[in-house]
């Protein structure tokens, strides 16, 4: 404990405020949604991300030919197609910064909002991997797509480092209109595997 006096005083002030007990929370909102690959694809595309529905990942990786692409330690072997310079951990910040892109999987996706969630688990790597390269190619399996935000949160483990990604980086700071492309990857491409 660093400043016990402040802690005690704040807690005491809260108790002295004597806020009455609150009503139980009524969760009358939707837990589920229509869901589905199509809705997810449509909503991701709304953010001006590039979306493809594919049946075979390696075949869909031709656009990476000749590029220097980061691949997390545990991506499936078959994704590491020939003709691509695969950058593998350990990678320094500078190496990540100079890569052409990164290829990952994801933990969960959300159809309702067109969101991809990374949790540092299988085929995702640590957070810096998907942050510094300017291009992120993310593979989403159809069974990873949750219909709604409530459903997605249930599937996630909150104590893992999570990144919710909805489209490429953007800003609304100039005249409150959305402009894509600031500090995070400026191009987001999503491969939905059915």
């Amino acid at each position: 404990m660093i400043n016990a006096a402040a802690r005690e005083e704040i807690l005491q002030r809260i108790r002295d405020a004597k806020v009455p007990a609150a009503q139980p929370v009524i969760r009358g909102y939707n837990q589920k949604g229509p869901g589905g690959v199509e809705l997810f694809a449509e909503r991701v595309a709304d953010y001006r991300a590039i979306v493809h529905t594919v049946s075979n990942v390696p075949e869909a990786l031709t656009s990476l030919q000749g590029k220097r692409i980061v691949a997390p330690p545990d991506v499936p072997e078959e994704w590491l197609v020939d003709g691509v310079t695969w950058l593998r951990e350990p990678l320094s910040i500078e190496e990540l910064d100079q890569a052409d892109g990164v290829l990952t999987g994801c933990a969960v996706a959300i159809a309702d909002t067109g969101t991809i969630v990374l949790d540092g688990g299988e085929a995702q790597g640590r957070r810096a991997l998907t942050l510094l390269p300017d291009y992120h190619l993310c593979v989403v399996r159809a069974d990873q797509i949750a219909a709604s935000v409530p459903e997605a949160l249930q599937r996630l483990e909150p104590t893992r480092p999570l990144t919710f990604i909805s489209g490429p980086s953007a800003t609304s700071d100039i005249e409150l209109n959305r402009v894509e492309g600031v500090h995070g990857p400026r191009t987001l491409e999503v491969l939905i595997v059915t």
Binding site: I10, R13, I14, Y29, Y47, A128, D173, V179, V182, G184
Partner: protein
């Protein structure tokens, strides 16, 4: 007790500041354009949700629950964060919080820190305090950067540079970054990217705020758009997060409500581009030192007020600013605080906690009580009721001064379309109210409003309805 930096030292009272702001036609044009855009987009994003009202009710109830057992939940949060390798600090006021952060920076030998936009750190004046202690804070959010480079003050809680249009931003960037750049938003964003890149890659300490903290897991949540947040939360060795004690939610499940309410209310998106969640320290991923600074700074005092405490439900979405007719006319800086607009009018005076402070006491009058703020608020804060309640407190504290009478009269006129029309027809609102001799003109002159003077207002029409109808035509 030291003065609370939530209001800016030397700020005039709201009517005086508003009068100056109203003379700035560029400012009003910029605001009208920006708030008009976001109002329309927000309405569309909300209309898509069939369960919006249920989400609002749940949001309100979860936050009320938090406020009713804040002590228990804070202790729970402290325990979960500590168990995951974080260090929790408590600060009674701004000075104490600033000292804690400065000491932490010094312990890391940091002369520079990168910052991700945070209302809490703006409220306590952290940047100035760090600067005085020899640590330079670099704002990395685009709008914050515009404010910082322009030696300006924020005017909106989500987009602090909302009062600047693209050509003004271009001028600031050219002057301060020494680069040639066009006024295309994409080019301006690119300029910010280039300017900040090396800072992100090399700075060892980051300071952030928090949108939510989950008591039972110790998870901290930051919503953002640009990726500057991810940079700050991921790349440095040390992360210091400063958070108001009311930012809690009890459980992970509760986030399902706020992750739906907040993006649609603030940037009118189904989801903001990036949301980061972290719990203490994760070996091999992200900062290996994590400090959480919990600040009171007037919140526990606010908690004692049974009507006023609902302001602590606020999730800082800024929807109430974007719909407020007074805010749109006067701009955010007139409120003299990092919290402008309707939420500022009820939160700032409560955090200051002194109704004898003329500036803070003028804020509850910065409203026509039209109710638009309550309608859009995702956590259903009844801002008009709190305003009325605080006005009564002002009168109780100061008595009926000439100023409070005039302010109340102005508010009364604004509350009804027919009264407003009459006041305008009488010559000017200013003359209508000039009798007390101290107010020589009203904060809201008719210049822009007169364009709609010939729109007939039915006598029974509320100001709200009248405003709705007329502002769309401008």
């Amino acid at each position: 007790m030291a003065r609370n930096p939530v209001t800016w030292l030397g700020s005039p009272t709201f009517p005086k500041a508003a009068k100056i702001a109203l003379a700035d036609t560029q400012l009003r044009q910029n605001l009208r354009k920006a708030t008009g855009t976001i109002r329309g987009r927000r309405a569309a994003a909300v209309a898509e949700m069939t369960d919006w009202e249920q989400l609002r009710v749940a949001g309100e109830q979860i936050k009320d629950d938090v406020l009713s057992r804040l002590d228990t939940l804070l202790l729970q949060l402290e325990e979960s964060v500590t168990a995951r390798g974080g260090v929790v600090h408590w600060a009674r006021d701004a000075a104490e919080a600033n000292r804690i952060v400065l000491d932490l920076c010094r312990a890391e030998n940091a002369s520079e820190v990168v910052k991700v936009k945070s209302m809490a750190t703006a409220e306590i004046g952290l940047n100035e305090a760090l600067e005085a202690g020899g640590v330079h804070a670099i704002e990395t959010d685009l709008a914050e950067l515009i404010v910082q480079l322009g030696d300006d003050r924020p005017s909106h809680i989500l987009v602090p540079a909302i009062h600047r249009n693209r050509s003004e931003i271009r001028e600031i960037f050219q002057r301060r970054m020494g680069v040639e750049v066009s006024d295309e938003p994409a080019d301006l964003a690119e300029a910010a990217r280039v300017y900040l890149r090396q800072k992100f890659l090399t700075t060892k300490v980051a300071v952030s705020g928090a949108n939510f903290a989950v008591a039972d897991t110790g998870s901290i949540v930051v919503l953002e758009s640009e990726g500057n947040g991810r940079m700050c939360l991921t790349l440095p060795d040390t992360l210091i997060t400063v958070m108001g004690i009311e930012k809690l939610v009890p459980t992970w499940q509760d986030l399902e409500v706020f992750l739906q309410l907040l993006p649609r209310s603030s940037t009118a998106e189904r989801m903001n581009p990036y949301t980061s969640v972290w719990t203490g320290v994760t070996p091999g991923d992200g900062p290996q030192k994590f400090h959480l600074v919990l600040i009171d700074n007037g919140r526990t005092a606010t908690l004692t007020d049974s009507i006023g405490r609902q302001a602590l439900r606020c999730i800082r979405c800024s929807a109430c600013l974007n719909v407020c007719p007074v805010y749109e006319r006067t701009g955010g800086q007139s409120y003299g605080s990092v919290y402008p607009g309707p939420i500022g009018a009820i939160l700032t005076p409560q955090l200051v906690g002194d109704m004898h402070d003329p500036q803070a006491a003028s804020l509850p009058y910065a409203s026509s009580l039209c109710g638009a703020c309550f309608e859009v608020c995702p956590v259903r804060i009844d801002i008009p009721s709190v305003l009325t309640h605080l006005r009564a407190e002002v009168v109780e504290a100061k008595g009926r001064t000439a100023e409070s009478v005039a302010m109340a009269a102005a508010a009364w006129i604004f509350a009804s379309a027919s009264r407003y029309e009459k006041a305008q027809k009488a010559g000017s609102l200013a003359r209508f109210l000039a009798r007390d001799g101290r107010i020589t003109s009203l904060p809201w002159p008719g210049s822009k409003w007169t364009s709609s003077r010939d729109v007939p207002a039915p006598p029974a029409e509320s100001f709200r309805a009248w405003w709705r109808k007329n502002r769309c035509q401008k």
